[in-house]
C-alpha cells in the first residue's frame, strides 16, 4: 500500500515538474535569445544559480521559505493582506507534495533554460526576418520556427526530466520532509531506501529499485517514441 502511495507521488511529481519546468524554461530561453533584453547576461547567470547549490542547501532554503510561523512565503501573504492564502506548506498532507514540486521546479529551470538557449542560438536569424516580412507575429514565429527546430532537444530533455525528477525528488524529500507527514511525500527511491536501509529488508528494497529502474526506462522509451518527429535540418 505504501508502495502505491509512493508510486502515485512520484508520477505526480514527474508529470508536474516536467510540464511546468518545460514551459517556463522554453519561455525564458526564447525571451533571452530572441528579445533585446537589458541585462540578459545577468538574468542568465542568476537563473543558473539554483543548479550549483547542494540539494541539502535547497532543502534548507525551502524549509525557511515554507515555515508556517516565520517563513518567507506566509509573511509575504501577511504583508499583502492575503491571509487566506497562508498555509502549512510542509505540514498539510494535501499540499505538501506541491511544495516539493515547487522546490524541484525552482532548481531545474535554469539548467534546462541554458540547454534550450544553446540550441535556439543556432537557429539562423534570417528565418525570423523572413517570417516577420511575411507578417508573422512573435507568437507565430515561436510556434512555427523555434519550437519545431528545437524539438529534438526537447525530446532529449524529456528523458532527463524523468531520470532527474526520480533522483532529485528522493534527495530533496529525504533532506526536507523525510517522507512525511505520514508518508504523503514518500517517493520511489525514498521508499526503497527506507525499506532497504531503515527496515533492513534489503531484498525487498532492491526489488523496488529494479522495478523503478525498469519503469523509468520504459517511460522514457515510450515518451521518446510518441514525440518522434522528423528532424528538421537547416
Amino acid at each position: 500500500m505504501d508502495f502505491i502511495q509512493s508510486f502515485q507521488n512520484s508520477i505526480l511529481l514527474i508529470v508536474l515538474v516536467a510540464i511546468v519546468t518545460l514551459v517556463l524554461a522554453v519561455f525564458f530561453a526564447a525571451i533571452l535569445t530572441n528579445e533585446k533584453i537589458v541585462g540578459s547576461n545577468f538574468f542568465r547567470v542568476v537563473f543558473y544559480i539554483p543548479n550549483i547549490l547542494s540539494i541539502v542547501v535547497i532543502a534548507g532554503i525551502f524549509s525557511a521559505v515554507y515555515d508556517p510561523e516565520s517563513g518567507l512565503l506566509n509573511n509575504i501573504f501577511s504583508v499583502l493582506k492575503l491571509e487566506f492564502l497562508k498555509q502549512k506548506w510542509l505540514g498539510n498532507q494535501e499540499i505538501v507534495i506541491y511544495s516539493v514540486a515547487g522546490a524541484l521546479v525552482w532548481q531545474a529551470i535554469g539548467y534546462y533554460m541554458v540547454m534550450y538557449m544553446s540550441s535556439m542560438a543556432s537557429i539562423p536569424a534570417s528565418f525570423y526576418e523572413a517570417a516577420a516580412l511575411e507578417g508573422a507575429g512573435k507568437f507565430k514565429q515561436f510556434t512555427s520556427i523555434t519550437l519545431p527546430l528545437i524539438w529534438n532537444n526537447i525530446r532529449t530533455t524529456l528523458t532527463f526530466y524523468i531520470i532527474s525528477t526520480i533522483n532529485l525528488s528522493f534527495l530533496l524529500v529525504k533532506a526536507m520532509t523525510g517522507g512525511g507527514p505520514d508518508g504523503s511525500t514518500e517517493v520511489f527511491l525514498s521508499y526503497m531506501y527506507a525499506q532497504a536501509y531503515g527496515n533492513s529488508t534489503y531484498g525487498y528494497g532492491m526489488a523496488i529499485g529494479v522495478v523503478v529502474f525498469t519503469f523509468s526506462f520504459a517511460l522514457a522509451a515510450i515518451l521518446s517514441g510518441i514525440t518522434k518527429r522528423d528532424v528538421l535540418e537547416y
Partner: protein, 293 residues
C-alpha cells in the same frame, strides 16, 4: 493614428517579459540572499518579522557551527574527499577517454558501449548495494583489522565518487578528443614520441577546455553529494552536506536557527564563489552535453 495600438501592445508585451524575468530573478536571489542575512542574525530575531535586516554581525553563529556542530572538521573532510576524487577521476578518465576515442583494438567497441551504458546508472539506486558490499568486505577482514577498513574511510569514499563519475566524464572527454584532428599525433609519432609522450605533451594540452569543464562539473557533483556520504560514512568523518543535514534535523528538534544558516553558508559559499569566477565557462559548457545526476 494607425500605428499607436500596435506600439501599445508591443510595450505591453515588453512589460510582461520584464515582469516575468524580474519575478524569477527575485524568487532566486531573495531566498539565497536571505540565508546569508539569517546566518548573521541573533536567535531572538528569528521570532520577529523574517524580513527585518540583521542588527549587526552576529559571528557567534559561525563559531558555533564550526566548533559545536563540527562543521570545521567536516569542511576539511569535504575538501579532502573532493580533491582526492578529482585526482582519481582524472588519473583514470583521461587515458581511458583518449584510448577509447582514438584506438581500435579487440573489444574496443564493446568497451565504448559499456561505458555509455554506465550513464544510465544512478547513484541513488546503488547506494545501498555499495554499502552492503563494503560491509561484507569489512566483515571478511575482521580477523586482521578490528575496526574495518572500507566503511568510514575517506579514501574509499573518494574512490567510489570517482568511479560513479567515470561514465559521464569519459563520455564527455572522448567526444571532445574525437573532434581533435589526428595530424598532430602523426607528427608526434614521426618525431619519435611514444604513446605516453603523445598523450601528455600533445593531446592533453589540446583537450584543456573540456578538461576544465569536467573538473568544474565534477567538483560541484562531489562537493554537493550527500546520499553516498550519508550511507557510507556513519562514523565521525562526515562531509559538509551530511553535517548540514544533521544541523537541519537538530534545528527541527531544538530551536537554534543561527548555526543552521551559518552551516548553509559554509556549504554553498565555495560553490557560489567558483560559479561567479567561471560562470561563462559553466553555462557554455552545457552545450558539450550530459545528464544531470
Amino acid at each position: 493614428m494607425k500605428k499607436s495600438p500596435g506600439i501599445r501592445t508591443e510595450t505591453l508585451v515588453k512589460l510582461f517579459i520584464y515582469v516575468a524575468l524580474i519575478a524569477l530573478a527575485i524568487s532566486i536571489v531573495i531566498p539565497v540572499a536571505w540565508v546569508f542575512m539569517a546566518s548573521i542574525k541573533e536567535n531572538e530575531a528569528f521570532y520577529k518579522n523574517p524580513w527585518l535586516l540583521p542588527e549587526g554581525f552576529h559571528w557567534q553563529n559561525f563559531i558555533e557551527a564550526f566548533r559545536d556542530a563540527k562543521m570545521g572538521d567536516y569542511l576539511i573532510n569535504s575538501v579532502m574527499v573532493t580533491t582526492l576524487s578529482l585526482l582519481f577521476l582524472l588519473i583514470v578518465a583521461l587515458p581511458a577517454a583518449y584510448v577509447l576515442s582514438r584506438f581500435e583494438f579487440w573489444g574496443s567497441r564493446f568497451l565504448n558501449s559499456f561505458v555509455k551504458a554506465g550513464l544510465f546508472i544512478n547513484v541513488s539506486y546503488i547506494a545501498v548495494p555499495i554499502f552492503l558490499m563494503l560491509l561484507s568486505w569489512d566483515a571478511s577482514i575482521k580477523p586482521f583489522l578490528d575496526d574495518g577498513l572500507f566503511l568510514n574511510n575517506r579514501v574509499v569514499l573518494a574512490l567510489i565518487y570517482a568511479s560513479t563519475a567515470l561514465p559521464f566524464t569519459i563520455y564527455l572527454l572522448s567526444s571532445y578528443f574525437q573532434t581533435l584532428p589526428s595530424d598532430f599525433e602523426e607528427v608526434a609519432a614521426i618525431d619519435g614520441a611514444g604513446y605516453f609522450r603523445t598523450m601528455f605533451t600533445v593531446m592533453l594540452p589540446m583537450a584543456m577546455p573540456s578538461i576544465i569543464i569536467v573538473i568544474l562539473f565534477n567538483f560541484l557533483l562531489f562537493w554537493n553529494e550527500y546520499i553516498l556520504a550519508l550511507t557510507l560514512m556513519p562514523g565521525e568523518n562526515k562531509t559538509l552536506p551530511v553535517g548540514l543535514l544533521n544541523l537541519l534535523a537538530a534545528e527541527r528538534a531544538a530551536v537554534n536557527y543561527g548555526p543552521m544558516y551559518a552551516g548553509m553558508v559554509i556549504v554553498m559559499l565555495p560553490t557560489l564563489i567558483l560559479y561567479i569566477i567561471v560562470q561563462k565557462r559553466l553555462t557554455q559548457g552545457m552545450t558539450v552535453g550530459g545528464v544531470k545526476g
